[in-house]
């Protein structure tokens, strides 16, 4: 999986929503197009980007071409959640410091500022 193109692919909200849908099982283009106010060709274009990025795969089943998440897709999403956690952790580590700084002047000279 090309990380760079995977993340570019993930930069679009429709494509992220498509991945969210596929996280719950495979779906056809028609099923994927349904929740969006978008034509099937437009959705197909998004699917192509996701596929080229190695995030989704297609299966051939008669005339149907259901898409599903590629393993890398799932990992990318896990990674995303991990990033959220990381950002929150970073925030709260910083807050620890802010809180520590609030305590000190209070003890020394009755924090009035």
């Amino acid at each position: 999986m090309n990380l760079d193109s995977a993340f570019s692919a993930l930069a679009d909200p429709t494509r992220r929503a498509i991945l969210a849908r596929l996280a719950h099982g495979e779906a056809t283009v028609m099923e994927l197009a349904e929740p969006f106010e978008m034509s099937q060709p437009a959705i197909s274009q998004h699917l192509k980007v996701l596929e080229d990025a190695g995030l989704i795969m297609r299966r051939i089943e008669g005339a149907r071409r259901p898409r599903r998440l590629a393993k890398g897709g799932i990992e990318a999403m896990d990674q995303w959640l991990a990033m959220l956690r990381k950002a929150l952790e970073k925030n709260y580590d910083r807050l620890d410091q802010v809180l520590a700084d609030m305590e000190v002047p209070k003890k020394r000279r009755g924090d009035k500022r």
């Binding site: 992220r16 959220l84 925030n91």
Partner: protein, 155 residues
């Protein structure tokens, strides 16, 4: 000591917990005083919050704007619904990335825990679909930031 937990609950909730060494009064203040919020609610290294409006009263407005100083930015707006000093804050917020995310209703509780505080932040999304999308987009929020940073790293 202060391990963060983040988990999905039911169909529409996300619950985050975190312990702090400081008492609830201080942690509450750090969430309601814009000068303090501006110091820590920044996401990954390198981002700043040049605009921080935080009117901590029922109906009061929230507006945070973040920038990485290199032309990338995003914002969050919201309203305070309920405030119980120093134990509870209820507010609603949405991100502008620039597309606007659905409203996220958040109750934040600060409980005394020994000499420190246990904070529990319970987010409620309008429906299961939205939460799914939110988790899938990594609750992109600050995360657009991490993401921008990651993009820089992988180039």
């Amino acid at each position: 000591m202060s391990k963060l937990t983040l988990k999905a609950e039911g169909d529409t909730h996300i619950v985050v917990t975190r312990r702090f060494a400081a008492p609830p009064e201080a942690v509450y203040r750090a969430h309601t005083d814009p000068k303090l919020v501006q110091k820590w609610m920044l996401g990954p290294e390198g981002w700043t919050m040049p605009v921080c409006i935080n009117e901590a009263k029922p109906g009061g407005k929230i507006r945070y704007e973040w920038t990485n100083g290199k032309g990338r930015g995003f914002s969050l707006t919201g309203e305070f619904l309920e405030l119980e000093p120093f134990t509870r804050i209820v507010h609603v917020e949405r991100m502008h990335l620039p597309e606007t995310t659905p409203d996220n209703h958040i109750e934040t509780r600060f409980e005394r825990d020994g000499s420190g505080t246990l904070m529990t932040m319970r987010m409620t999304l309008p429906d299961a679909q939205t939460r799914k999308a939110m988790l899938a987009t990594g609750m992109e929020s600050g995360m657009e930031a991490s993401y921008a940073r990651l993009e820089g790293m992988i180039q």
